[in-house]
């Protein structure tokens, strides 16, 4: 009897282990399928011309340079907006607000909820708030009704993305601030440093790797989002590159959406579509890799100390 019971337990353990392995295998298989499919179908597209040319002949030929340019510009503007805002908020929450104050707790809950809002909602918010309210307001009160800012534009799209990625920056910055030993803060204050000096000279430098990681995560999240920019600035096709903040722009993710759903000749765009997906994938991988590299380099430098 004993032997049998032990045997049953062993079998259960064996089955459970098998389940975990099977689940992992499914994930790996999915990843290989997705990436493999894209690389196989997309790699022959990758030529110099594909990167530097604009789409031609109803997107069935040419390249995707405007979309790459637009993506980079969009993400750059977004970073300029989101990093200072997110870092300042995190500094307030962690360094100035009392640790258990109701306000701080409320803000944290709000930030957490912001992260859970579907991205299409941000798109509509951007349309209503940035374009109609702010942009329209500028046009009405400063430009006397001439439409310059109250229309989809790269500035509004990047600000919308900034709102979307704000939680990423706030949470990772707060984590980084939490990792700064209180010993350092106390030592700085005990040497006559003010709170501001302590934050500027001790706390923030020590948090740079965490802040940078958060920023790059935000960038790679922002670069992959389509819904928030659909209404706020991304264009189906543009014969020129955006040069002003209120220009529209082309973007990789949106370009993929457009080619796969809106194109008059879906079969004809397929090779280019695969190529574009591959480029977006590579861009995201490279960004993440960059984040990891920068972070580990700063950590090593910190260990060796300045």
């Amino acid at each position: 009897m004993m032997q049998m019971a032990r045997g049953a337990i062993h079998i259960k353990g064996f089955v459970f282990k098998g389940l975990t392995i099977a689940a992992t295998a499914v994930i790996v298989a999915m990843l290989v399928l997705v990436v493999g499919n894209i690389v196989l179908n997309g790699h022959q597209q990758l030529s110099w011309g594909f990167f530097v040319k604009a789409p031609e002949m109803g997107m069935t030929a040419g390249g995707i340079f405007p979309a790459i340019f637009g993506t980079v510009a969009l993400v750059l503007l977004m970073t300029i907006a989101v990093v200072p805002l997110g870092v300042l908020t995190a500094v307030y929450l962690h360094e100035y607000a009392k640790p258990d104050s109701r306000v701080a707790r409320l803000i944290r809950v709000a930030v957490g909820n912001l992260a859970g809002v579907p991205s299409i909602v941000f798109g509509l918010f951007g349309l209503g708030f940035f374009i109609h309210f702010i942009g329209g307001g500028i046009d009405k009160f400063l430009l006397g009704g001439e439409v310059a800012w109250g229309q989809p534009a790269i500035i509004w799209a990047s600000l919308t993305l900034a709102v979307l990625t704000l939680p990423v920056v706030i949470v990772s910055t707060e984590e980084a601030l939490r990792a700064v030993p209180d010993d350092y803060r106390e030592a700085s204050l005990a040497l006559g440093g003010t709170k501001w000096q302590t934050i500027r000279k001790i706390v923030l430098p020590h948090s740079v790797p965490g802040i940078l990681t958060g920023s790059i995560l935000a960038v790679s999240r922002g670069a992959g989002e389509v819904a928030p920019i659909m209404f706020t600035g991304a264009a189906y096709f543009l014969p020129y590159l955006p040069t002003k903040l209120n220009d529209q722009f082309m973007e990789l993710g949106y370009h993929i959406f457009v080619m796969s759903t809106q194109s008059p000749d879906i079969e004809g765009t397929k090779p280019i579509l695969y190529g574009t997906v591959l480029v977006l994938l590579i861009l995201t991988f490279v960004l993440n890799l960059l984040a990891i590299l920068i972070r580990s380099r700063i950590r090593m430098a910190q260990r060796r100390a300045r």
Partner: protein, 295 residues
């Protein structure tokens, strides 16, 4: 720093007095008209800090009960007592480091050269430049040795490179560390040994030339040789600084300090010259503690 709005002021008679009061005092110490030697000699019986009817609360818990102490200039005052008796808390009331702990409250007065450091409008940066501190766990910044020692000077507004270099060198010499680190001032302080790191922290505190130095068990985490070096150093510092030191180690207190206060459950049981505390205690509890019967 936040203003000490939740501190209860008992007899803050000079509430209108401005922030500059501490600063003025600091500079006027040097121009009292007396030659420096006379100042030194007179300093030996002078009270540098005095604590009157001090109560301290963490939330609702009373951590210090009616503490009265006076700290003599250019002497070493040792604080002994079992863990949790409030000696570290007391030490941190002397430069208002407890202000950064939420939900704490203080009653009574702490005077530095006659000025209540808990009155309103006290500039905490100035106070802490006059009353420096060395912590139990050595906590050099993850910066170079030079940057560590120069930190207090820089946040105090000193920019001149030559002056910084001179002061850093002097502080490291005073902390008996110069010969060991003179060739590697720009390497990380974290690469030094534990004892050297603690001396960097002492040098860092000395660099801003405080008048009082608070030390919270500065040698507790160190090996015997480093401990001996730090103890020797503290004796040397006595001629220029007033020192208050918390210690767990009875022999260290007996060897190092001129006056000793015995803390128990937030109260000062006995405060006297060190020799009296250790050889002729008046209170039974002090005797039990110093003879090792508990604690």
């Amino acid at each position: 720093m936040k203003p000490a709005k939740d501190k209860v002021m008992s007899t803050a008679e000079d509430e209108k007095e401005s922030t500059d009061m501490l600063e003025e005092q600091r500079s006027s110490g040097e121009k009292t008209g007396m030659p420096p030697t006379a100042e030194k000699n007179r300093g030996s019986d002078r009270t540098k800090m005095s604590v009157e009817h001090l109560n301290f609360y963490y939330g609702e818990t009373l951590a210090l009960k009616d503490v009265n102490l006076s700290i003599r200039e250019n002497h070493i005052t040792g604080l002994i007592g079992p863990s949790g008796c409030g000696k570290s808390t007391f030490l941190r009331t002397l430069n208002r480091m407890n202000d950064i702990i939420p939900r704490t409250r203080l009653e009574g007065r702490v005077l530095l050269d006659g000025t209540d450091i808990y009155q309103q409008n006290i500039d905490l940066s100035v106070l802490r430049r006059r009353v420096g501190m060395v912590f139990q766990k050595s906590n050099p910044f993850p910066k170079s040795i030079f940057e560590n020692v120069a930190y207090g000077l820089k946040v105090g507004g000193l920019r001149d490179r030559t002056a910084l270099e001179e002061k850093v060198e002097k502080a490291l010499k005073d902390a008996a560390l110069w010969d060991e680190v003179r060739d590697k001032l720009h390497t990380s302080a974290l690469q030094l040994s534990g004892g050297q790191q603690q001396r960097v922290c002492i040098a860092r505190a000395l660099a801003i030339q405080p008048e009082v130095i608070l030390m919270d068990e500065p040698a507790s985490a160190l090996d015997p040789i480093s401990t001996a070096k730090i103890e020797e150093l503290i004796q040397d510092l006595k001629k220029d600084y007033t020192i208050v030191i918390v210690t767990h180690n009875m022999q260290q207190a007996a060897r190092a300090s001129d006056y000793t206060a015995f803390f128990l459950l937030g109260e000062v049981v006995e405060f006297d010259e060190t020799s009296n505390i250790f050889t002729n205690p008046k209170d039974k509890r002090t005797e039990d503690y110093v003879t090792g019967r508990f604690g």
